[in-house]
């Protein structure tokens, strides 16, 4: 601790240089936090996907529909605790850029399947009673300033009504919250019975099924049993865990995780070189001072530790400010206003960030610290 008083004044030597180095680290960690949130957004649901939930979709593609009669068949399979379905509506609210997911579901079954969607009981009851009722997640409600009781007009893109009209009007009866920050609260849910009755085609067909399995250990076996049950039928299925489904969905836009990792790796290598070079330069300028410390009796290890701590302190200050700013920027919400519904920085990303800060400090300071450690006092004093 007593050496800290010896280390801190070193930052005053070249204030601009110290500041710029810290600033470069700040930028790197703001980027880390922000890209981390984007990566999380693209893999939304993967980490939150229930281990006991499976998704059954058409074998050919997600947009091919499945018969509604499959639900009863699926529920008959041993090990399946529950099943329900949903369909992609794909409508437009006011203008196409106001994107959010809309899905007709069976309220009772869906809310049981997704206990992480928290809907106040009285709103749930109203939904059960209101055929044209819909509920929406907090993020979309706030985005458009919707309140319970509002009428929400949605323009269909392919689900036209029986009368040929494209406008579907729903009564907003509830706003659900997520059990955790990672839960997607952008989805607009309305009743399948109303949808099925009013749609102008595709009666008896649904988009996909959710299955809850009694024992997650049997998920793979049950997935195969489901697909076997519908093999050689006009609508063959592909069943996978919810995590795999969401990952596949996210990867339609490319391997975002890999792209983000690539960018971050490039940023960190650059910052490592910048910080390392600054530390090396700082040590080079202080060779004779380090020689004096050694002449006075500081051991090689103590000199190594001092230089290393100096590097770590720079990284810690820059990293803490960077992660703090990044966290704040992420907390301002989805920058795309809707395309990234789960825009949050999970604690594990912050922990990874903290570890990276430490590693950056240690690695950038290590070479200069080793150089300082190996320095002979006689040589150092001679270099004046």
């Amino acid at each position: 601790m007593r050496f800290v008083r010896l280390i801190l004044p070193n930052f005053k030597r070249h204030k601009t240089r110290t500041l710029l180095t810290i600033l470069s680290i700040v930028v790197a960690f703001v980027l880390f936090a922000y890209l981390g949130a984007i990566r999380t957004a693209f893999s939304f649901g993967v980490s939150m996907a229930g281990a006991d939930r499976l998704i059954v979709r058409h074998k050919v593609s997600l947009i091919q529909l499945l018969p509604q009669s499959y639900e009863a068949d699926i529920e008959r399979i041993s090990g399946v605790a529950d099943a329900t379905h949903a369909t992609w509506f794909g409508g437009i609210y006011q203008e196409p850029k106001n994107f959010f997911a809309q899905m007709p579901v069976k309220p009772e079954e869906f809310m049981k399947m997704y206990p992480e969607f928290l809907l106040p009981p009285e709103q749930y009851q109203t939904w059960m009673k209101t055929r044209t009722g819909a509920v929406v997640g907090r993020i979309t409600a706030d985005r458009f300033g919707w309140k319970v009781g509002d009428k929400i007009p949605i323009q269909a893109t392919f689900w036209t009504r029986k009368d040929g009209g494209k406008l579907w009007t729903f009564d907003l009866v509830g706003i659900y919250e997520g059990k955790t920050k990672e839960v997607d609260t952008s989805i607009f849910l309305f009743r399948h019975d109303y949808f099925d009755e009013a749609r102008g085609g595709g009666e008896g067909l649904v988009g996909w099924y959710y299955i809850r399995v009694a024992d997650p250990k049997n998920a793979e076996v049950i997935a195969k049993q489901v697909d076997d049950a519908f093999a050689n039928s006009p609508a063959e299925t592909k069943t996978e865990t919810e995590g795999a489904f969401v990952r596949g969905f996210a990867e339609q836009a490319g391997n975002i995780g890999a792209i983000v990792m690539f960018i971050l790796t490039a940023v960190f290598i650059t910052i490592l070189l910048v910080a390392g070079n600054t530390m090396a330069q700082s040590v080079r300028e202080r060779i004779s001072e380090l020689g004096v410390l050694k002449a006075i009796g500081f051991t090689d290890g103590q000199v190594l530790a001092m230089v290393l701590i100096e590097g770590v302190l720079v990284a810690l200050v820059g990293g803490a400010i960077g992660l703090g700013l990044g966290w704040w920027a992420v907390s301002l919400g989805d920058p795309t206003k809707g395309a990234l519904p789960v825009f949050t920085l999970p604690p594990r990303e912050l922990i990874t960030g903290a570890i990276l800060v430490l590693l950056l400090g240690i690695i950038s300071g290590l070479l200069p610290a080793l150089q300082a450690m190996r320095l002979s006092a006689v040589d150092a004093l001679r270099r004046e």
Binding site: P9, V292, L293, A295, I296, G297, A377
Partner: protein, 229 residues
């Protein structure tokens, strides 16, 4: 009768430059008594700084034995030598070698950071050392705001703050004008006479050497002549 504090027996120091061996010190025998003020003189390249480095434990002899206060230091490891230096050696440099970012008192405190002393004890020792060199009023000043003579006095305060066995001074007046240099030499002399510090000073300056109680001349890595003051 004075006690021998430093004993060099058949000490040799060889540096290797490429394929060539350079004998900087040759079969050196020397005894320095406790309480002595020894001036080491000689032309550049005569080996006096190398000898000082050996006495300081900054370097090890190639051959021979070097004993300080009854302890053989020629066979100590780098780490052991560092610990030994912290306890036994005070160093005064030609260019003062103060840390520019630290105040005078923090510079003086440096060697005490390696001891178990508490902060208040360290402060007491620092003020005592600054008082000896007459600089308590400049304690908070950084080296940049001190004159050359004042900086060297801070350097001396740093060298004596741990009450070392041996004070080694490498051209302590080499960067000062005559008047300031004399003041520094008087200070070293009074440390020797009043506080009985053992001092070894390397100097080119015959005038500076007159402040010592004994003068040794080195030529080509060997002691060539000796003169008592």
């Amino acid at each position: 009768m004075a006690n021998p504090l430093v004993q060099l027996s058949n000490v040799e120091k060889v540096f290797r430059r490429g394929s060539e061996d350079i004998h900087v010190l040759r079969n050196l025998d020397l005894v320095i008594d406790e309480g002595e003020f020894l001036a080491l003189m000689g032309p550049s390249g005569s080996g006096k700084s190398t000898l000082l480095n050996l006495l300081a434990g900054l370097d090890r002899p190639t051959n021979g034995a070097l004993t300080v206060a009854g302890k053989r230091i020629d066979s100590l490891s780098r780490r052991e030598l560092a610990h030994w230096r912290a306890r036994h050696v005070g160093f005064v440099f030609q260019f003062y070698n103060l840390l520019p970012v630290l105040s005078a008192e923090r510079n003086v405190e440096l060697p005490l950071l390696l001891t178990d002393l508490s902060r208040s004890e360290r402060k007491k020792h620092v003020m005592n050392a600054l008082e000896i060199v007459g600089l308590t009023h400049r304690a908070k000043h950084t080296p940049r705001t001190l004159s050359g003579g004042e900086q060297q006095r801070v350097g001396i305060a740093r060298a004596i703050v741990t009450d070392p066995t041996l004070i080694l001074a490498d051209e302590p007046t080499g960067d000062l004008d005559r008047k300031t240099g004399d003041a520094i030499l008087d200070l070293l002399q009074s440390l020797n006479r009043q506080q009985h510090k053992t001092i070894v000073m390397v100097t080119h300056d015959p005038h500076a050497a007159t402040h010592a109680s004994r003068q040794l001349h080195m030529v080509d890595g060997q002691l060539s002549s000796e003169m008592a003051a």
